[in-house]
Amino acid sequence: MTGDRVAVVGACAAGLAAAEALRRHGWRGEVSLIGAEPHLPYDRPPLSKQLLSGAWGPERTRLRGPEQLAELGLDLRLGTTAVSLDARAGRLTLSDGTELECSGVIAATGLVARVLPGSAGVTGVRSLRGLDDALTLREELRTPRRRVVVIGNGVLGSEIAAVIRELGHEVALVGPARTPMEHSLGPCVGALLAQVHTAKGVVLYGGRRVEHLGTAADVVRSVHLDDGTELPADLVLTATGSTPATDWLAGTDGIDLTDGLGCDAYCAAAPNLYAAGDVARWHHPVYGRDLRVEHRMNATEQGIAAARNLLATLLPRPGPTAAEFAPVPYFWTDQYDVRVQAYGLLSPAGHLHTEVFRGDRLGAATLHGADGLATGVVAANLPPRTVRALRAVVARPVPWGKAVDDFKSALDQFETCGPHHRGGGT
């Protein structure tokens, strides 16, 4: 690649973290930060939480203030997308026809929300991926007591259901998992979340799929499930997953676009082409396999790692040194007053679950593993010292037996119920 410019494609958490890290690690050349949306870089997790609930206005979701952005001296190109990249020549073409000569490119284009089949052109069916989606949705929820069907009971659908319920609407949560977030967190924490959602008045339709939407004059009226259930609906929200936004790389030679942009352990997809965040699939050197992580913490960590590793090749010595990207993945979700935190690789098929009594609250912890190794842990409503101790148990994959002992001792200050075993940790 050529030129005195690094282009960061994607201006949300991963892209901004990369741009900041380029500056922090000594890149004095141009940094072009290219964002598809017209908004200043903003954060996505609050969209389904504080923004949707009305607690925050849109400006609160900004990742940095205008002054902090100005200090970075960016060539900020908002409302612009990349349309193609010739990686060998270092030529990035933008939607406005501009061609940028780059010495390095960091891809941080994130995800595109999957569209529910049969919902194209139907009024009243929405998804929540960007700030504009969230603001529109919030407007529509100003009408009281709407009948809302949330399709998809993973993290986004479960969070949205909780917030909309607390706004006073009638909420049905439909999805393939038997209990909310069961596919990622396992059935025990899923059951705990199901209990809380039900107590708050969300009606759960777990283990079901949507057969079709009922419409009248192209306006949604109902959602029909595979078991014959018909749910009346004023508004349908789809949270049925996303796909990596790699269209702009389709013509780039020598890269692998199977499930995101494939990278090595240094987050490099090709010479001087790096990737970070939801779009990046990289080889995790500790787990020994490719991962693509759609969580907020990873966006920041990988943005920083990709920037540093790119600069290790661009800057003269003594610049930053390249390092393999080997994080302990982390994510959290807040639903009502339940805070769930997860570390490492979760493997819901094999786990050990313990419920914890904390005065008037129920907490829980689950150890996850497969093939004789423990690799992950989930903590629900546990105090920070315990959460840190649980994280330490799985900071690296460890033999299941040792992990079970450490897991129990991390919880030994509590009165517990369980453990409940299932499947293949051992």
């Binding site: 890290a21 954060d43 609050p46 607690a55 609160r60 935190q341 920070p384 840190r388």
Partner: protein, 64 residues
């Protein structure tokens, strides 16, 4: 250097307390970040900046 934490943004990830334990800790009751040293010595500045950079909710403001 002056450090503040926005509790409306903080999600209790504890990243800051792990990266800069001399500067941040977590409240026992809810895990939210607490600033131990709002104006840390220069020797802690890098750790404080790193904690702010890695915060998953950009809840940490470092003014220099």
């Amino acid at each position: 250097m002056k450090i503040t934490v926005d509790h409306e943004k903080c999600c209790a990830s504890g990243q800051c307390a792990m990266l800069a334990p001399d500067v941040f800790e977590q409240r026992e009751e809810d895990g939210l970040a607490v600033v131990l040293l709002a104006e840390p010595d220069p020797g802690l500045h890098d750790a404080a900046r790193e904690a702010a950079a890695y915060c998953p909710t950009t809840a940490i403001l470092v003014e220099e």
